[in-house]
Symmetry: C2
Subunit: 200 residues, 2 copies
DNA sequence: TGAGTAAGCTTACCAGGTAAATGTAACACG
DNA sequence: CGTGTTACATTTACCTGGTAAGCTTACTCA
């Protein structure tokens, strides 16, 4: 039912994102203007903003997936919340998922993000969205009886700490396989720590 | 040694901040432009930005103090880090310090912040500054042997959670004395939880 | 056929923020 | 005393992200 017609919105949107991503990776996020992206995509500036809320979303448009993944992991869990999230993180890692930070071809993306204050800020804001989402999920969950807000904050903080460290090390050129292993350990450890303090 | 001369920078800076604060509290942060602030302070727009890096700093110019407080609490501590920070938080609370969020006359300020996405974002960014500062402090501290980055993240997350909850309740009109008591309890509790998981 | 709607366009504008060149009061010092 | 330096401030001009409003095109479906 969406995008009827060949001029179609979804295609335009995808083209804009592609062109923008290429430009950002090549020259850096802050060095490329929206006007340039629009021109390169053969589209007007206003059209860009009708497909993406913020400039940052041109590059980071797969973040919402992560929220969906977390939500579903919590809902379909059989054991504890923290355990379910640890499982999710490990699975993403094994699959080399983009969101795990240890995927195959994401290094240029990581570098671009790391060099842009605006993108870092956006990622941090996303962390808060995730936190709020998780807190809401836990609060509405009859199987969870602890402090939902505190638990969400701690889990997100712990995961973020590990993820950031891994990214940093990857950008410093550390070996990928080695890094994945160390990431796994640190992930397990961090979630263990949190598990001990989050009473369910 | 600074500000010689009567036209002096410090005075101008203070005047700008005062005027700006009054305008923001009265009409809301996002409804007041820098140009207005400049005009009201009898100064040019550029001058405003020569005294304050960002618009948000016009209102939140006392945040750096908090970092100093934390740093010194960590350095002069006798026992554990978490314990020292809990003490600091409780002391600020007792003194009704602005930074505690439960001061006497800060409600208008809190309301203004809560209603402005830009200010909320700024506070969050500040949280990260605090986290980085604390992590650096712990990493350089021979008395602390745990994971400095993780510990900093968890402490900041826990404190923020409590502070945000308190502010929210205060803005909902909850009784001040009652709130202070509950804040104290929740603070103690949150730090206890963190203390258990941060091995020093 | 005609209404509705999604997608896009142009134009115009706003606000935060930066750059550069200039002016001016106060001080320091030979 | 005059000269230069420094800190503060000014004006002007500009860039960039983002929004508003209103018009056009093209497709869908009743």
């Amino acid at each position: 039912m969406p995008n009827r017609g060949d001029r179609g919105g979804a295609r335009t949107r995808a083209r804009i994102a592609e062109v923008a991503t290429a430009l950002f990776l090549e020259r850096g996020f802050d060095e490329v203007t929206i006007a340039e992206v629009a021109a390169a995509a053969g589209v007007s500036k206003v059209t860009v903003f009708s497909h993406f809320e913020r400039k940052e979303d041109l590059l980071l448009d797969r973040l919402p997936e992560a929220i969906e993944l977390v939500r579903s992991a919590v809902r379909t869990r059989t054991g504890g919340v923290v355990d379910a999230l640890r499982q999710l993180a490990l699975t993403l890692l094994d699959e080399g998922h983009v969101l795990s930070g240890v995927g195959g071809d994401v290094e240029p993306l990581m570098r671009t993000v790391a060099e842009s204050p605006a993108l870092i800020a956006r990622l941090r804001a996303f962390g808060y969205e995730m936190e709020a989402e998780l807190a809401a999920e836990l609060a509405a969950d009859t199987r969870f009886s602890g402090d939902a807000v505190l638990a969400a904050a701690l889990v997100v903080a712990a995961y973020r700490t590990v993820a950031v460290a891994t990214v940093r090390r990857r950008l410093e050129g550390e070996d990928l396989a080695e890094l994945a292993e160390s990431h796994r350990e640190r992930l397990t450890q961090a979630f263990d720590v949190v598990e001990r303090m989050v009473s369910e």
